[in-house]
C-alpha cells in the first residue's frame, strides 16, 4: 500500500451526521488514523438517516453513514458520564486533533472545551464545527444545514422569485463546514510545527457561507443597494444563462461571450428569429425577453437529446453542458475512466460502490482501505490495546452503559 500524506496523524472525532464526520473523512482518506466516538446504543445520527437497501432502516446499512465513515475506527462512549469523559480524555492525551460539533455550552459543561483540554494535552488541536461558532450572540443557537444556508446567504440565491428560497440539496452546508474544518485544521498543524502548541479551530457553518461563498459581493449591497436575486431556472445577467428542457432532460446553457451564443445559433441552423432587432443586445435579452427566447430555444432543444446537443456543442466549443441525473453521472465514462467510484465490501451492508477521490495526489494517493466501523467495533482494540483497560473492566463498562 502506498504511503499517505497524513499517516502520522491521530484524530479523535466526537461529532454526528455530516459536518465533523466529513471533516475527518477527508483526513482519514489521506491516511490519518481517525477514532470515531459514538454514543452507546444509538451511534451517529447518520446511521438512522439512510438511504437503506430496500428502504428497511438498519443502523449498519445507512448509505450516508457508510459513505462518510470509511477508513475510521469506531468506539462507543457516553461522554455524559464521568467515567466516559475520563476515557475520552485518555484518548485525547494520545491524539493530535480532536474534531467535535457540539454546542460550546455543552462542551463546557462536559469539561471538554478547549481551555480544559489543553491543560492535559497542550499540543492538541481542537476543531469545533458548529452552526454559529464559539463566540457571538448566536453561539449557542441551534442551526441545521437549512438554517445556516439561510442566514449565510445561499438560499436567497436559489428558487423562483416570489416563492420560498431553496437551501441546497442534501445538507450541503455541513459539507462546506466539514471541508473548511479540514483545511483550517491543516493550518493549525503547520502552526504547531513551529509553536509546539495546539489551538482551537473555530468553524462557524453560517460564516463559511457568509464569507468565502457569499461575502465577496457585500460591498455592492451596502454601497449600491444591490439585492440577492433568484430567478428560477435562470440567472439574469446575459442571455442565455438558463437550465432548459430538451428531449430527455435538461441542458445548462450559459454563454457569457457573444461568440459562444453566435455559434449556437448557427448550430441550430440560424433560425429566422435571430435577426429580430429585439434580440441583439444580450443584456436586454436577459432582462426583457428571456421567456420568449426560452420558448424559441426550447422548440429546437426538445427535438434533441442531451448527448446530441453536448456533442454538437463540444465540437463547436460552445460552453453548454447536460444536466446529468445521478444515474447518468454514476455511469458517465468520465468517472469510470478516472476510477472515481470504488467498491467496498462490508458486514451487514454487502458489496457496494462508493463515491471516491475528489483529488488525485501523485505520490500519496487517496485510498479507501477499510469500510465504516460497526457500532463499537474497535472498543477492545482501542480501550484495551491503547488505554490499557482489562477485559473484565471492558465488560463492566459495557454493562454500565458507558461504552
Amino acid at each position: 500500500m502506498a504511503e499517505q500524506s497524513l499517516s502520522s496523524l491521530k484524530i479523535v472525532e466526537y461529532g454526528s451526521f455530516i459536518s465533523a464526520p466529513y471533516c475527518t473523512k477527508l483526513m482519514a482518506d489521506l491516511g490519518a488514523e481517525v477514532i470515531k466516538v459514538e454514543e452507546p446504543g444509538h451511534g451517529d445520527e447518520s446511521r438512522r438517516h439512510g438511504p437503506f437497501p430496500d428502504d428497511v432502516p438498519h443502523p449498519e446499512r445507512s448509505g450516508l453513514f457508510l459513505y462518510l465513515n470509511g477508513n475510521k475506527l469506531g468506539v462507543t462512549l457516553d461522554a455524559r458520564t464521568p467515567t466516559g469523559r475520563k476515557i475520552l480524555r485518555g484518548l485525547l492525551e494520545q491524539a493530535d486533533v480532536f474534531v467535535e460539533s457540539s454546542s460550546p455550552r455543552l462542551m463546557k459543561e462536559l469539561g471538554l472545551d478547549y481551555a480544559s483540554l489543553k491543560e492535559t494535552n497542550p499540543r492538541l488541536i481542537v476543531t469545533s464545527i458548529t452552526a454559529f461558532g464559539q463566540t457571538g450572540p448566536y453561539s449557542d443557537y441551534k442551526g441545521y444545514a437549512l438554517n445556516t444556508a439561510g442566514i449565510g446567504g445561499q438560499s436567497l440565491r436559489t428558487g423562483e422569485s416570489g416563492r420560498e428560497p431553496l437551501a441546497p440539496a442534501l445538507s450541503q452546508s455541513n459539507y462546506q463546514s466539514g471541508a473548511m474544518g479540514a483545511a483550517a485544521t491543516m493550518g493549525a498543524l503547520f502552526a504547531r510545527m513551529s509553536t509546539g502548541s495546539g489551538q482551537q479551530v473555530d468553524i462557524a457553518e453560517a460564516e463559511v457561507w457568509a464569507t468565502i461563498h457569499h461575502g465577496h459581493g457585500v460591498h455592492l449591497g451596502v454601497f449600491e443597494g444591490r439585492k440577492s436575486m433568484r430567478a428560477g431556472h435562470r440567472t439574469i445577467s446575459v442571455y442565455p444563462w438558463a437550465m432548459l428542457p430538451c428531449k430527455d432532460g435538461y441542458m445548462c446553457l450559459i454563454a457569457i461571450q457573444g461568440h459562444q451564443w453566435k455559434r449556437f445559433l448557427e448550430a441550430m441552423g440560424s433560425p429566422e428569429w435571430m435577426s429580430d432587432p429585439r434580440f441583439k443586445d444580450r443584456i436586454v435579452m436577459a432582462f426583457e425577453h428571456a421567456d420568449e427566447l426560452d420558448s424559441l430555444v426550447e422548440a429546437w432543444l426538445i427535438d434533441h437529446t442531451k448527448d446530441e446537443i453536448f456533442e454538437m456543442c463540444r465540437e463547436r466549443q460552445i460552453t453548454f453542458a447536460p444536466v446529468r441525473s445521478v444515474e447518468e453521472a454514476a455511469r458517465d465514462p468520465h468517472f469510470k475512466e478516472r476510477g472515481y467510484f470504488v467498491v467496498m465490501d462490508r458486514v451487514a451492508a454487502g458489496t457496494l460502490e462508493y463515491p471516491g477521490a475528489p483529488y488525485k495526489l501523485s505520490e500519496t494517493p487517496w485510498q479507501l482501505s477499510c469500510p465504516a466501523p460497526l457500532l463499537g467495533e474497535h472498543n477492545e482494540e482501542i480501550y484495551c490495546g491503547r488505554l490499557g483497560y482489562s477485559g473484565d473492566e471492558l465488560v463492566k463498562l459495557r454493562e454500565g452503559g458507558i461504552i
Binding site: L166, A184, L189, I254, T319, H334
Partner: protein, 411 residues
C-alpha cells in the same frame, strides 16, 4: 532561500514562510490561493495585461478599469501581484526561477494551458522537486471530458448535483451560483496542505490533479448511495428533508423576507408547539409524530406559514431559539452586513485599497485561537509587486527589469 518549512523561528501565521505561485484566475483557483494567503503564505498572483483575470472586469462592477472590482479585491486580498507574459520564453523562464524558490503552485487553466507554455508540472518539478502543485480544471487532466470549457454552473450540471435543485417534484432549476467553484477551492486548499505536510517529513513534492466535477460528486455521496443501493434516482426535493418536518423557509413580514425553521426531535417539536402558543392543530394526529408530520408536510407548512407571516424573521428566530428550536432568517447582502452576530465575528471587513479608498470584503472563513489570521494587505494592483519579486526575490538588476518591461515580458 527556500525558507519554506524553516520552522526555527516562531511564526505569527500558520503558513508563514511558505511561498505560493498562483497562476489561477476567475473564482475557484483564486479562492484556493486566498485560503493559503489568509493563513499567512506569501501568495504571488501571476497576471498579464495581455489577458486580464476576468474577475477584474465583471460587467456591472468595474466601470472604470481593472482596479475597482470589489469581488476581485475580496478574493485576492493578502496576495502579491506580478505581471508576466508567460507566452514569451523569457517570461516562462522568469516563472521557472520563481517556482524554484517556491513551495506551491496553483493553476486552473484548461489542461492544455500550461502545457502549451511549457510550464506543466513535469517541467516545474524538475526545476523544484519539492514543489506541491495543484491543477483544478473542470474535469481533470485526463478523461473523456478533460477538454471541456465550462462556467461554474456547468460543473453542477455534469456531476449530477444540479439535477437535485428545484421545488419538490418540479422542473430542474439547477445551481445558479459558483457553488462548486468555492467547494473545490476549499477541498483543494486542504489537499495542498496535506501534500505539503507530507513533504515536511518526506522531502517529496507532488502533483494534485483535482477535477472540480469529482469534488461535486463527493458532496452528493448520499444520492449516489441511494442509486447504488436501490437503483433509485433522486430528483428535485426543494427544502424537504428525509427526517425533519417542519423543514422549510417560511414567509415573514416585509417584502421577500423568509425564516428557516428545522425541527428534528420530538423534544424540539414540543418546544416548537409551545413557542407558538400550542394552537389546536398541533395536537392533532396529523402531526403528533415525525412520520405523520413528514406525510402531512404540505399542510404543516401552510399552518406554520400562517404563524410566521405575522412576524419579522428576526422575531421568529428569537422566539424559537429561546425555546431551543433551530430557526434563522434568510439574509440578503446588506442584512448580513448589519447582523449583530456576523458583526461581532468580523464576517465582513473594511480594507483600504489605493484605487477605491475602502472596500468591504469577506472576512476569513475560519478562526484560529492562538495564531489568529487577518487581512494583512488589500488585493494587488496589476504588477504592484513586480519590483519586489523580480528585484528582491529573483535578484534582477534595475536595468534588467527595465528591459523586461520595455520588451513587454513584464506586462
Amino acid at each position: 532561500m527556500q525558507g519554506q518549512g524553516d520552522k526555527s523561528n516562531m511564526v505569527k501565521y500558520p503558513l508563514e514562510g511558505y511561498r505560493v505561485v498562483d497562476f489561477s484566475w476567475v473564482w475557484a483557483g483564486p479562492l484556493l490561493g486566498m485560503i493559503l494567503a489568509d493563513m499567512g503564505a506569501e501568495v504571488i498572483k501571476v497576471e498579464t495585461n495581455k489577458r486580464l483575470d476576468s474577475a477584474r472586469l465583471t460587467p456591472g462592477r468595474s466601470t472604470v478599469g481593472p482596479e475597482t472590482d470589489f469581488v476581485f479585491h475580496s478574493m485576492n486580498r493578502n496576495k502579491l501581484g506580478i505581471t508576466i507574459d508567460m507566452s514569451d520564453p523569457r517570461g516562462a523562464a522568469l516563472i521557472k526561477e520563481l517556482v524554484a524558490i517556491s513551495d506551491v503552485a496553483v493553476e486552473n487553466f484548461s489542461p492544455k494551458g500550461l502545457r502549451n507554455l511549457g510550464l506543466q508540472y513535469k517541467v516545474l518539478s524538475e526545476v523544484n522537486p519539492r514543489l506541491v502543485m495543484i491543477s483544478l480544471p473542470a474535469a481533470g487532466q485526463q478523461g473523456p471530458l478533460s477538454d471541456i470549457v465550462t462556467y461554474a454552473p456547468s460543473l453542477g450540471a455534469l456531476c449530477g448535483y444540479s439535477s437535485l435543485i428545484g421545488y419538490p417534484g418540479e422542473r430542474v432549476l439547477g445551481e445558479q451560483t459558483p457553488y462548486l467553484d468555492v467547494t473545490s477551492a476549499i477541498h483543494g486548499a486542504f489537499a495542498v496542505m496535506a501534500a505539503l505536510y507530507y513533504r515536511e517529513n518526506s522531502g517529496k513534492g507532488q502533483y494534485i490533479d483535482m477535477a472540480q466535477i469529482d469534488v461535486g460528486a463527493s458532496v452528493i455521496g448520499e444520492a449516489f448511495m441511494e442509486y447504488f443501493m436501490n437503483g433509485r434516482v433522486m430528483g428535485t426535493e426543494g427544502n424537504r428533508n428525509l427526517t425533519m418536518a417542519p423543514h422549510n423557509n417560511y414567509p415573514c413580514l416585509g417584502e421577500d423576507r423568509w425564516v428557516s425553521i428545522a425541527v428534528k426531535s420530538e423534544e424540539e417539536w414540543r418546544s416548537f408547539c409551545g413557542a407558538i402558543g400550542n394552537p389546536g392543530w398541533t395536537q392533532g394526529a396529523k402531526f403528533n409524530d415525525r412520520f405523520s408530520r413528514l406525510r402531512n408536510q404540505d399542510e404543516l407548512d401552510r399552518l406554520v406559514s400562517a404563524w410566521t407571516v405575522e412576524r419579522t424573521n428576526y422575531e421568529v428566530m428569537e422566539i424559537l431559539q429561546g425555546a431551543g428550536v433551530a430557526a434563522a432568517p434568510c439574509l440578503d447582502l446588506t442584512e448580513r452586513f448589519s447582523d449583530p452576530h456576523f458583526e461581532s465575528r468580523d464576517v465582513h471587513l473594511q480594507v483600504d485599497h489605493p484605487a477605491t479608498g475602502v472596500d468591504i470584503i469577506a472576512g476569513l472563513p475560519f478562526k484560529l485561537s492562538e495564531t489568529p489570521c487577518e487581512v494583512r494587505r488589500p488585493a494587488p494592483m496589476l504588477g504592484e509587486h513586480n519590483d519586489y519579486v523580480l528585484g528582491e526575490l529573483l535578484s534582477k538588476t534595475d536595468e534588467e527589469i527595465a528591459q523586461l518591461i520595455e520588451d513587454k515580458v513584464v506586462y
